[in-house]
Symmetry: D2
Subunit: 273 residues, 4 copies
């Protein structure tokens, strides 16, 4: 189902006379629902606005965006939860509207129990990018490229220019060693993930040992537990990094966070505004 | 006029059910005609193929691409020469076809006489890119961003990570000092421009003094002459770099190259195959 | 004249059985006198202590160092002001003592009137050094190398990894454009010069327009005035950067600072403690 | 024992009137004997000459250097083999002479059987050094600093700016995975070790599988065997990298190389010229 910047339709046709539509000059966000409610829309909207501002693009008003999405989800009438992508480019910017795409969410409960397998990308995250890491845009095409190149794995971990751990191509990463949870700081060159941020709040609410600092590769590979966070799936444990580094999946800290995740977010009103 | 991967049409509609069309995962080339003939199509095609191979995209056969463009130009029936953009993404890749856009070329004879004004971008070319500099793709969005940011100038010169001169956002750059023509090497992190390559052949045919090496900013700013090359306009002199660095425009070497350019390319069959 | 860590002597012999004496594992400071009084000794001592701490070396007590230098200067009995180098290595560290070297200061009043000529080093300041820029040590040998390589000029300006202006091999650098004085920040990778710091205080006391920020090469080369600061000479104007970039020397801002320099430092007790 | 640039003496005194002696502006080599004969002196001399040329220093004639060392070793009269350091600075350069230091070599047969323990340095090798990696000089003080910082381990592995494996602070590194021996290329930023070079010749003479290429940290940590090479000890296996990565020590490839090392070098005349 597709919101073509005017209406929700099953299959759409739209006009284009311009090369610009194809050139990736756009910003986007990926959202999901829990129990049919859009999760942390306000946080995603704020990030979208920041990205759009950097690129000189206009975003719709929050209430308009929100109501449009709600009616779209209702029409789509999926019995499960859904994933939603919204996209803003020069065409939608002119009229302060947007494109949106809705699809059923892929269930991954089995992966949450068994853990996923990762690789480490041989490519380094481009240093000193013209477009900062916090801007979520298809102009920064390297992650799309890496996602395709390493699609045999759940995700690939990207190192930065110094060889420090940054993030996956679609997730943030956390390690647990001797009970201490550690994640790279924003300054390592990562996307400030919405789920990452809420997991940090959950960790804090449990008063778990936590550090935000640069992670060396050998710290990653000698960790007891590793988990990823991203909007679509929340928290997911890693059981192996190829070729032969294995981890508790889920380990005790990861399992604790997974078990309390839904209760924590549901109990917190600011994620549902 | 637009080739929608099937037909040439004045204004087209096409279907899309997918976010992927917008994400910039594509490669493209810009071409032009001289006297209604497509210039250096073979060279552009080879570069397109190399870019597409890196991205895992398929390109059409050369003869099919060529004939399609020729018939498109005939239909477009423009009394002047035209500029053509071709683009390949996952959609066209599946059927080994392409999108194409034709438009009348903007005449710039006045600029060729007076010279253009440039700025130097404060942003550095991203170092260590996942996608190499030779791949012409909208996935490397920084140049699109810079083109928009510095659109008050004809072009902006981008330095690389070390502060060496690389290229403009849509052109290659040459300097002339004490009669010696110098241009940055491919290893400085530049697009191997087709016009750049042919200008090098022209320089060689004239036996002019020439060096391909890293250029420091102070060498650029103390040059006698500077000129740009790109497909749409060929060779164009620079008269000023802001704030207050001025150059002979056109200087004697630049003028020589401009004067012989059309004769040189017309006389050489391999540019018209 | 030489303080061999025990006594002041005209010419000394000392023992060595060890390769370590030659290996540059040491920290040092350069001082000067004004009217026979040591200038800003406390500031130099604090920096020495910081450098020594990083390298795991011990420094003598402040009062001991000071009194030893004062008696050395008295013995040296030079009719002009002197330059003093002090050096701490593993040998002196063990006994919390130091080496010191005294020599007459080279007068440069003519240069202060005419301005000096600089070049820009083709070499970049090493990025990401193991030993931070603030540590004044002969272990960071690149500046010694550059001083020798470019010894045809008063100093050479070193750019950092991005091509930003940092400092000379023995001086800090300031530019003046349209009345605004600008100098690179410590974060550009510079030594936090004592004279630089006091010049900043002088600028502030005059309420002159001032910015501390990254300086691009083209900003340097299009400046109205440029001046250097270092302990031995205070403030010195730049009249040319090779090949052909010229500057007012001294320009009006530089001249103001030079004229008030001695009065300013003499009036301030904390520079003579 | 010490060659003070004039004579061999048990304990020497020498003159110094100059700060320059302490500033590390020098180049050096470390040599050893096997059965009282100096190993690969010609190779070390060639490297010394290259380093000296870069720094603008003069070296003595080969025959003079060689004969001086031979007579020094004879005088030293050590019943075991010895380690020799030679050093050239501005003082010796003026007279085309050198300093030399001789000491008994530390026997490490036990380590050769059990393997050594390494750490990975958190500091990165400085990128883009003014003085190239091939120049063996105390001006590049970072390795001296790291040797002291990590002196609880046999050596520390230093990564380069991208996080690739380069070398230890006093050794070159090789890994063996599935029977393939791999070592970083010179271009990774390493010293072209003499022992490294001869080990490559030994590997080639045995026709073992070999690659010279960039090594990622996870390739290092998942290797079957790791060994170091340096002049003093030849080849030495690594049994552990902290915290918890273990390796066969010696593994089968490492053991083969160790077993044939002495026979190989003794049989080859060019190492004893």
């Amino acid at each position: 189902m597709f919101y073509n910047s005017k209406n929700w339709i099953e299959k759409t046709i739209y006009k284009n006379e311009d090369f610009d539509l194809f050139n990736g000059y756009s910003t986007y966000e990926t959202l999901r629902t829990y129990n049919k409610n859009i999760f942390a829309l306000r946080f995603h909207y704020e990030r979208l606005k920041k990205s759009a501002m950097f690129l000189g693009l206009e975003v719709p008003e929050y209430e308009i965006l929100k109501n449009t999405l709600i009616s779209g989800i209702k029409n789509f009438n999926c019995k499960n939860d859904v994933r939603i992508k919204i996209l803003i480019n020069k065409y939608t910017s002119k009229e302060k509207t947007f494109y949106a795409f809705i699809e059923p969410i892929r269930e991954i409960d089995d992966l949450r129990e068994s853990g996923v397998v990762l690789t480490i990308s041989r490519e380094r995250k481009p240093k000193n990018p013209v477009i900062p890491y916090y801007v979520k845009t298809t102009l920064n095409g390297y992650s799309m490229y890496l996602r395709q190149k390493y699609n045999a794995y759940y995700d690939s971990i990207v190192l930065n220019e110094f060889g420090y751990v940054t993030e996956g191509t679609k997730s943030n990463i956390f390690i647990v060693t001797a009970g201490v949870i550690t994640t790279p700081p924003i300054s390592a060159g990562i996307l400030p993930g919405v789920t990452r941020k809420i997991v940090l709040e959950l960790i804090e609410s449990f008063n778990m040992d936590f550090e935000e600092r640069n992670i060396e590769v050998w710290e990653l590979l000698s960790a007891d537990e590793i988990f990823l966070t991203h909007t679509s799936v929340g928290i997911i444990p890693v059981r192996r990094i190829v070729p032969n580094f294995t981890f508790n999946a889920p380990g005790i800290s990861t399992e604790t966070l997974i078990n309390y995740w839904q209760d924590f977010i549901i109990a917190n009103n600011e994620y549902w505004e």
